[in-house]
Symmetry: C2
Subunit: 416 residues, 2 copies
């Protein structure tokens, strides 16, 4: 992809509204642009990363046999009346009236709609369990939107809902989601912890939050730092000063950004909305439900909050918008342009995604913007190609490598 | 994917609200479910087809160097005041007030937002042309929603916007989109014609509609049926009784479903919103714009309207939810289940997508639902596997093929 066509509106100065480093860099590097308070456009760079996060989510949820669907954003108020949340949800629920003066919620979450969809369909224990999910834009009228994509009014979520005939089946799916979430956040390159939590507005019994560890964030979390945690697989929530369960950890404090949340809902919605199935003995029972959310756009923000330096963003390779940034020093030199184009084709064949900076700009501007954008590998094409040599730099290192052109692909494969 | 996990709520009878065959079958086959008038859930089958349509669009737009972004649905009224459409757009524009009593449009289209985004960024002829697009849920408060996904109030669109320093550049991109759209609709399996059209609410000069030919639809189109049209590449709009331009065609009538629309907008929005660039002589000029839409969810509906028989849907292979439907006659027979699972793995390795009907249902139910859903290939696993034979049926044929198991993959590859 040519950078001249790829709309990356970088900014020299930090916008005054930015409140944390990820927010500053996402604005400065041309990842996002604010349209209104808490409402952003995902510019091409951010959208490519978000699509990769979504693909990781889809791959991990396919493993646990969840099926994807897409529910509407506009939800008739009647469904929210049935659950009782039309009154209870308060001002964060965005509402509108259609031309016939009918009330709609602009979906912040979809418990009511999914319960309506499965009601009368999942009507027998023989059809259970079933897990459905969607990846969708959600709306929530936050009183104080802040930190860019962290607390926005329009954001991308993955929300999943599971339906069961008994609590053992719910427990099993809940544990599968726990594992899937650990896989997803690990693959996205996040440092995170899973902590038991309140279930808030959604209702229900047991729940667990997945918190990205940062210096910002709205929750303080306390956790044991021991070898188990290195694998991000254990769930604890310990009071300050507590002894770590296996005796060899250290109690740590951090701010956390909530990136995921899994809930055992139980029968809160099925009871209110009369979603029942016939059990093995012929008796009608309320469906037992779980629900499972991931803040997709928030994951991107948390990753950047954890991965940056004084020059800009350092994207992990799994969700980087492109793998490789080719800098053409002089786009008016035919041999450099031709070389870059051939190299792009070679790299694409080797399964790499490539952005070519073909703009007529000073090399200093190109290098500093490349650092700001933060693709994992930078390849510089200048006069040195005449000597059969090319410069390669990894974003997370300071050293530059002089690599023979013939050995380039192997060199990159070794490190990436 | 196991059908027992994949939520396909089929209906035995035609829902009374359904107004055309595609609408009836999409409801009956468990592709969509209505949530409110003109507002649908895309159930797992429909969503898989829609994702394939989206990937075809992305692939064809990548060829013409368009970059994808994602703008918000919530658009501050101030932008619509700038363009003058806050007043002009009328009741089809959905509007809401946030908790601070600020007015927002719930986006039916994004000329204002995209112009706001590029304004002050695409500020020099050196940065032009640029083409940006998104694939997104759109909202339009239709007075009379009808025909399922055809005239809905919430629907998926691809909308693209191009920016130019001169009309030659706009003409070039407009022609590239014309070609891209022909490629996209052809790859989706649509029979369509491109006709010159009004530019309606959007404003601007030249425009062209891409119409899927059906017995339903809201426009009557008249076109010349000659060899040129077989390739879906020519644009005509002829009065009834006109002589065909090359003298050897026949004038045809059909109803059309508008699936795409390309516009030369000119400077309507850039002038109103002061989006200017500096030209080669140092003079400030209004950006010249084009815009280009595809009704993504509507494409799915039009394809089904064109591809069905008395038994159900007949999905073209390019956008079918799965390629192959494996019917397990007796899911309680271990050898059939094991064989189906191994066959699924073999087919997945050969790049096919597979749905396995593992439900405990009568074979008659499974076969009729398979016809209703309409995957291109049906493979039946019953007692005949003990004789080393398997039954293969293509959805668009009546004949059943008895195929030796060892020859199955080659047999399928030959036909598909």
């Amino acid at each position: 992809m040519k950078q001249s066509k790829f709309f990356i509106p970088t900014l020299k100065d930090s916008p005054k509204e930015a409140e944390c480093q990820s927010h500053i860099y996402m604005l400065r590097a041309g990842y996002i642009k604010q349209i209104a308070a808490g409402i952003y456009t995902y510019l091409p760079l951010a959208l490519r990363s978000i699509k990769k996060i979504e693909q990781i989510i889809r791959a991990e949820l396919a493993k646990i046999e969840a099926a994807e669907l897409l529910m509407p954003s506009l939800q008739p108020s009647e469904l929210w009346q049935e659950s009782g949340r039309w009154q209870k949800y308060g001002d964060t629920l965005m509402r509108m009236k259609d031309r016939h003066d009918r009330d709609f919620a602009i979906g912040p979450t979809h418990e009511e709609v999914i319960t309506y969809i499965v009601r009368d369909v999942l009507n027998s224990y023989k059809k259970l369990p079933v897990t459905l999910y969607q990846i969708q834009t959600k709306f929530r009228d936050e009183l104080r939107p802040r930190f860019g994509l962290m607390r926005g009014r329009e954001f991308i979520m993955k929300d999943a809902y599971s339906f069961h005939a008994d609590t053992d089946s719910l427990d099993e799916t809940y544990q599968e989601f726990n594992q899937a979430y650990n896989n997803i956040f690990t693959r996205c390159g996040l440092k995170f912890r899973a902590v038991k939590a309140d279930s808030g507005n959604i209702g229900g019994s047991e729940s667990c939050e997945f918190m990205a560890l940062t210096d910002i964030g709205e929750d303080t979390i306390v956790y044991a730092n021991n070898s188990d945690f290195a694998a991000n697989l254990e769930v604890y929530n310990l009071p300050i000063g507590a002894k770590s369960p296996d005796g060899n950890g250290t109690i740590m404090h951090a701010k956390g950004i909530e990136v995921g949340h899994i809930f055992k809902l139980g029968t809160v919605y099925s009871e209110a909305m009369k979603a029942q199935f016939t059990d093995e003995t012929g008796v009608r029972q309320d469906l037992i439900m779980g629900c499972y959310g991931i803040g997709v756009s928030r994951v991107l923000m948390a990753v950047i909050e954890q991965n940056h330096d004084e020059f800009g963003i350092m994207m992990p390779k799994t969700i980087a918008p492109f793998d490789i940034h080719i800098i053409v020093i002089d786009p008016k030199a035919d041999n450099q342009v031709k070389f870059a184009s051939e190299l792009e084709n070679t790299l694409i064949k080797a399964q790499y995604e490539v952005l070519i900076d073909d703009r007529i700009e000073r090399p200093g501007v190109k290098f500093s913007e490349a650092d700001l954008i933060g693709l994992p590998i930078r390849i510089t094409i200048g006069k040195n190609i005449e000597k059969g040599v090319i410069e390669v730099k990894f974003r997370n290192e300071l050293v530059k490598h002089e690599v023979e052109i013939a050995k380039l692909i192997n060199f990159i494969k070794e490190y990436y």
